[in-house]
Structure formats: C-alpha cells, structure tokens
C-alpha cells in the first residue's frame, strides 16, 4: 500500500495527535513534545510529496530545513521553560496566567 494517500493519512493522524498533545498537556515539556510530533508529520508530508507528487529533491531539502528549525526551536523553547521554572517554580502551563482577565 505504497500510495500517497497512505502517507498523507499517517501524517494527518500524527498531526492530530501532536495537536492533541499541545492543547491538552499541562506540562510545558509535554507541550514541546507535541510540537515535535507536529513537525514530524509535516516532514512526512513533504517527503511523501517528494516521492509521489513530483517534488523530487526539493521536498528533501525542505524537510532538512524543517529539522534544522526544529532543533533551534527546541533549544530556545527549553531555555524558556527553564526560565519559567525558575520564576514560577512550576512548569504547569496552566499556572502561567498573567494574562488572565
């Protein structure tokens, strides 16, 4: 079953799961993990199109760049989370409610 739709579906499911994680998890790091899932699903999409959709190597390049972005972003995000932990002594994103009305 090596068709485009398969891979797209897989990517879609991964995406949804990642989304679920982002909006559901209380822990900041867990939210970050959800984000990684989302990024991976995007990569999967790119590469599926690279093979089936005629993008060829451009898709690979794109996916490469995504990975690089993910790395940078993960680093900065973790730095932020550590800072939040230092200031609020908790990394439950629930408790960071400075913008609450």
């Amino acid at each position: 079953m090596d068709s485009l739709n398969t891979y797209l579906f897989i990517a879609a499911i991964l995406f949804s799961l990642g989304l679920f994680g982002v909006i559901t998890r209380r822990n900041g790091v867990a939210v970050l993990m959800g984000i990684e899932l989302i990024l991976n699903s995007a990569n999967l999409n790119f590469l599926a199109f690279a093979k089936f959709g005629g993008m060829n190597m451009s898709g690979h390049i794109f996916a490469l760049f995504v990975i690089i972005m993910a790395a940078a972003e993960a680093a900065v995000a973790l730095a932020i989370i550590i800072n939040i932990f230092k200031n609020f002594h908790t990394i439950n994103v629930d408790d960071v409610q400075g913008l609450r009305q």
Partner: protein, 683 residues
C-alpha cells in the same frame, strides 16, 4: 355746478370732519385751545360747501336732479358690492341741515363745554359723528348705509357717555347702543332678504327690480318691516323708544345735534329714501307705529319736570309724526317736517342748554350741589333775565305747536293732511288722523307748559334768581339763527303765503312713485293731500288753539290747578310720570330673565363644562402621561435600554472565562473555530 363738482364737494363734505376727528384725537390736546378750531373749521367748511350745493340746486330748479357715482368695493365674481354716493335734491337738503346743525353745535359747545376735562375728545367725536351722518345721507346702497348707521350709533354711544364717570351716563350710552342694535337686527335681516332675492344692494337697482316684479308680496313686506325696524331703533319709535330720554345724560349740544335734529332723523331719512320699496302692508305697520308713538310719547311729556326730558319725549313724538307721514304715503311731508323740526327742536335744546348753563352758574355760586339745575320746578320768571333765550324758545315753541306764520305749521299741516286723505281713502284706518290730531293738542299743551314754567311766573328759587344771567354770544348766536329759520318764510320762498307750503321745497323735492306694483302713485297721493289740505288746516288750527289755551290757563293764569288735576287723575298721572313703567317692565320681563339665562349658560360653561369636562381631559391626560412616563422611564429606559447595557455586561462577564490567560485554551478555541468555519464552508 357740474356733476364732477357735486361729487367732489360731497367727498369733501364727507371726509373733512373725519380728518378733523383724526387730528383732534391724536394731537388735539396739544393744540392751542385744545384744537376746537380744527373741528369748527372743518364743519363750517362743510357748511359752506353744502350751502354752495344748495344754492346751485335752487338755481338749477331741477326737481328730478339725481347724480350717482359708485366704485366696486368687493368683487368676488358672482358676488359684488358697489359703494357710492347718491346726490339728489333730498340729499342736498339733508346735507345742509346736518352741516348747519352740526356747526351750531360746535359753536355752542365752545362755551357750554368750557373747562371740560375731555374738551378736545368731545370735539373729535362731534366731527366723527358728522362724518358718519353725512355717510348715511350720501349713501346710495344698503351696505354703506348700514356701515354708517352703525358708526352713527357708535358716535352716539361715545357722546352720550362723555361724562362716563357718572354711572347713569355710562348706562344710558350702553342702553342707546344696545336698543339701536335690536333695531339693527331687523335692518340687517331686511338687507339680506333683499339681497338674496334681488342680488344687489344699490337703491336704484333695487327699485328697478321691484318694479319689474322680481320681488313682492309677503317677502317684500317682511323685508320692508325689517328695514323699518332699523328705523324704529334709530328714531326711537315705540317700543324701542326707551333710549332717547336716557340719552339726555349727554351734553346738551349733543342732545341738540344728535337726538333732536340729525341722528334720530336718520331713521326717517331711511324710510324716505326707501319709500318706493315698501308694500302697503309695510306702510300700514309704519303708520300705526309712528302714530301711536306720536300720541304715546306726548302723554308722557305732559308730566315730566326735567326740562330736557320734556324735549326728549317731544322729539320721540315728533319722530312718530314723521314716520306716520311716510306710512300714510305723504313721505315728502314727513321729510319736510324732518327739516323744520331739526331747526326748531335744535333751537329748543340749545335754549334749554342755555337755561341749564345759567342755573349751573347760579348754583355753583351758592355752592349748592344738590338742587337739580334741570328741574323746571326750580325755575320761573327767567324771561327778564334771559331775553334772547326766551324769545328764541318762544318762537320755536310756536313752531312746534303748529301756529301759523311758523315753519312747523306748514310741515305739520302737510302731515295731517296726508293722514286725513289716507283715512278718507281707507276709512278703516280712522285712528291715524285721530293719533295725529290728538298728539298735536298735547304737543301744544306741554310745550307751552315748559315755556310758562321756565320763563314766566314767580321764580321758585328766589335765592338763585339774582345770579341768573343771559348766556354768552357763542351760545346765543345759534339760538338766534335757528329761531329765525323757524319762521315760515324760509320754506315758502319765492312765495309769501304763510298758509300754503308752496315754495322751493315743494317744487324741488318731489315724491317719486312707489316701485311696488299696485301701490298708489305719487300723483294719486298728492291729489289726496291736496283735497284734504284745507280740512286738515282747519282742524289743526282748532287743535293747536285748544292746547295752548289749556296750557295758558293752567300754568300762566293758574286758573286751573295743575296739582288738583294731578290728584284727580292720580293713576294716570303716575303712569305718565313714570313713562308707563316701560323700563321697569322691560327690566322685569326681558332683561332679568335674559341675564338669568346668561348666568345659567355661564354656569354650565364654567362650573360644569370647564371644571369637569375640560379639566377632566386635563386630568386624564395627566394620568395617561404619568403612565406613559412610567412606561418610558421604568419600562423602556430602565428595562430595555439599561437592560441591553446590563446584559452586555453580563455577557461580557460571562464570557470572561474565555480569557483564561492560558495558552492552551486559546489554542483550543482557535482550533474549534477552524473546524466550525470549515464545516460551515463545506455546507
């Protein structure tokens, strides 16, 4: 005199006194001598102009002379009113009479009203009256006649009430005006009947239409009676005679001018002008009213003690004579009597004014403010002290009593001849000459009574007698002039027969035929008068002599005691003295019930309608507005308007939970939004 000149003169005669009125009213007080020279100047100019017109009439010798000029006042297509002048011989004669008496009044008033507090206003009103009276004389149509009729009534009101501080004067003025108005209702109805049938107001057109048969029978009789009602009011005929005696509250010159010579004569003038349109039935009504008034007023005059009241009732009686003449068909005789009566009655009034003036002076000197200066019982023996007044009044009394050689004899004789001829042709109306001759007896009686009581005998108040003196020149001049004009000769020129009225008057002022088809022609009437002339003369001479003899024996020789007779005929004496209780009965049966009715209506209007209905409306509106206010304020404002605000706030407060400050919640909402949007889009 050319036609244009006639019209120009008429315009001047009409409007000069009006100009004098306007000037006097506005700046009179500030002029030197309070401006009486303005009024006198205007009126004397009028006199000169009318003398000029009169002279030209005498020279021209045209009995049928008539000039008419009109202009359209109101033109609404189908409805047109034209106003204008009609100048014929009757007009010219009347204008002269009015101008003459008015000038005399003006001159007389200079001394009589000296020092009066409203001197300039008095002269202004005199000018206004002259204007209005000339308007009536010159009118050629019913509308302008009615307008000036009312204006004359207004001037009468203003002048009678000149001393309005006196309650009796104010009341008398009101009474005069209101009684006049009662008559005017009839006048107006008559005008409307004529207009609605014939569609015109102008005399000449009316006469032509009636002669053509467009209006007749009962309708025309009613119109005629209606118009006559106006004359009844103005000329103080029974039963609307009540105002004239009370009008004596006004100054004596006013009484002379208006209530002897001119204004009251306006009613007679109306009947003379409109004679052609009266049906035989209307004329009969006129004759009986006039005849009855003549004798009725005379019976009151014999017991009156106030000198002016005697003259007032005498005027009513003489006016009755004139109306009787018109009713009998001898309307030219009636007009003749109007002219002569104007002269001698005005002279009598001026004379009485002179006497009263002297009495006032004497009483004032004695600081006596209670004695009535007008009561004849306080006079007596003034003949030596006031010779000019005496002789003038004597001449006028002789004229009014119908003594030959004087003007009154000629005119009265003509009237009596008219009634006699009328009764000869219609014997059923025998009462008319009886009224006429009966009134003649009584007239002679009471007029000489006046002369004897005032000027002869012993002075009743000796303390006053020394201070009585003759009046100044301005007051005696009119007396002299008018008494002179009461002599026969001025009416019979160019002939000198004192027993025949043949003269310029009878030649120039001729009767016109009645317009009503079937009425006796003027020729027929003239024939009848001619036949009855000598019998009437004989009877009137006898009758006059009888009256004078009776009066002479009662008051001069004192052979018959007046008081004894008064006692013997006490009930009749009382009736006469109290004017037959007319005023009292009118009050009881007319005024009071009417006042009660008005107060009832006023009660219904104020206390019932206003209080309950109108105020009720107000209250209902108040309650209603209270509820609407509540609805608006509490309901609308509070609930709805504020409610919207409040609900928005609640919603905001409720939706506050959305702003949790948590990132993941925001994200969730975003996702949900996207899902919803896509769902909506795909459907």
């Amino acid at each position: 005199m050319t036609g244009n000149m006639i019209m120009d003169y008429s315009l001047l005669i009409l409007f000069l006194p009006l100009a004098a009125f306007v000037i006097q009213i506005f700046i009179g007080k500030r002029l030197p001598r309070q401006g009486d020279w303005v009024a006198i100047g205007a009126v004397v100019t009028t006199l000169i102009l009318s003398i000029a017109m009169f002279t030209s009439m005498l020279i021209g010798q045209e009995p049928q002379f008539a000039q008419e000029a009109s202009f359209t006042w109101l033109n609404m297509g189908a409805f047109k009113i034209e106003l204008g002048f009609l100048v014929d011989n009757i007009t010219i004669t009347m204008l002269l009479v009015v101008a003459l008496i008015s000038s005399m009044s003006h001159i007389f008033s200079v001394k009589y009203m000296e020092g009066d507090i409203r001197y300039s206003r008095y002269f202004a009103y005199l000018g206004f009256f002259t204007f209005s009276m000339n308007g009536i004389v010159l009118a050629n149509n019913l509308v302008s006649m009615y307008m000036f009729w009312e204006l004359v009534g207004v001037s009468s009101y203003l002048l009678i009430g000149h001393w309005f501080e006196k309650a009796s004067a104010a009341d008398a003025a009101k009474k005069a005006f209101l009684t006049n108005r009662v008559g005017d209702i009839g006048f107006f109805i008559g005008i409307l009947l004529i207009f609605s049938t014939l569609g015109t107001f102008t005399f000449s057109e009316i006469f032509d239409s009636i002669a053509a048969g467009k209006m007749g029978g009962t309708l025309l009789t009613f119109a005629g009676v209606g118009l006559f009602l106006g004359a009844m009011g103005k000329s103080s005929q029974f039963p609307l005679h009540i105002w004239l005696p009370d009008a004596m509250e006004g100054p004596t010159p006013v009484s002379a001018l208006m209530h002897a010579a001119t204004m009251v004569a306006a009613g007679v003038f109306l009947c003379v002008r409109l004679f052609p349109l009266f049906t035989p039935d209307a004329l009969i009504v006129m004759a009986y009213v006039g005849g009855f008034t003549a004798i009725f007023a005379a019976t009151i005059a014999i017991t009156q003690n106030d000198i002016k009241k005697v003259l007032a009732y005498s005027t009513v009686s003489q006016l009755g004579y004139m109306i009787l003449a018109v009713g009998s068909g001898a309307y030219i005789a009636g007009f003749f009597h109007l002219v002569t009566h104007a002269m001698f009655k005005a002279c009598l009034f001026y004379g009485s004014g002179s006497v009263i003036h002297a009495m006032h002076h004497a009483l004032h000197k004695k600081h006596d403010h209670e004695t009535d200066p007008q009561d004849m019982r306080n006079m007596g023996g003034f003949k030596e002290k006031m010779p000019i007044t005496y002789w003038a009044m004597l001449i006028s009394t002789l004229a009014i009593s119908g003594v030959p050689l004087f003007s009154g004899f000629l005119s009265k004789d003509a009237i009596l001849a008219g009634t006699l001829s009328f009764a000869t042709h219609q014997p059923i109306h025998f009462l008319l000459p009886v009224f006429g001759f009966g009134a003649a007896v009584i007239t002679a009686f009471y007029m000489f009574r006046l002369i004897f009581m005032t000027f002869h005998g012993k002075p009743q108040m000796a303390e006053l007698y020394d201070d009585i003196r003759e009046s100044p020149r301005e007051m005696t001049f009119p007396l002299i002039l008018l008494s002179t004009l009461s002599v026969f000769i001025f009416y019979t020129l160019p002939y000198f027969n004192p027993f025949s009225d043949h003269g310029w008057y009878t030649e120039l002022i001729v009767a016109s035929d009645a317009a009503v088809p079937g009425n006796p022609t003027s020729h027929f009437i003239a024939e009848g008068i001619h036949h009855a002339h000598y019998p009437a003369m004989a009877i009137s001479l006898i009758v006059a002599a009888l009256g004078i003899f009776l009066s002479w024996s009662m008051y001069f020789k004192k052979k018959i005691s007046a008081d004894d007779w008064a006692q013997k005929l006490k009930p009749m004496y009382n009736l006469s003295l109290n004017k037959y209780f007319f005023d009292e009965n009118y009050n009881r049966f007319l005024y009071q019930p009417f006042l009660k009715l008005s107060s009832l209506v006023a009660y219904i209007d104020w206390d019932l309608y206003d209080k309950y209905f109108i105020n009720g409306f107000g209250r209902v509106t108040k309650v209603f507005s209270f509820f609407t206010g509540r609805m608006d304020y509490d309901g609308l404002d509070q609930t709805i308007i504020d409610g919207i605000g409040r609900s928005v706030r609640h919603t905001g407060g409720a939706l506050k939970f959305l702003q949790t400050g948590r990132l993941q919640n925001y994200l969730l909402f975003a996702l949900l939004g996207v899902v919803v949007i896509v769902l909506v889009q795909s459907f």
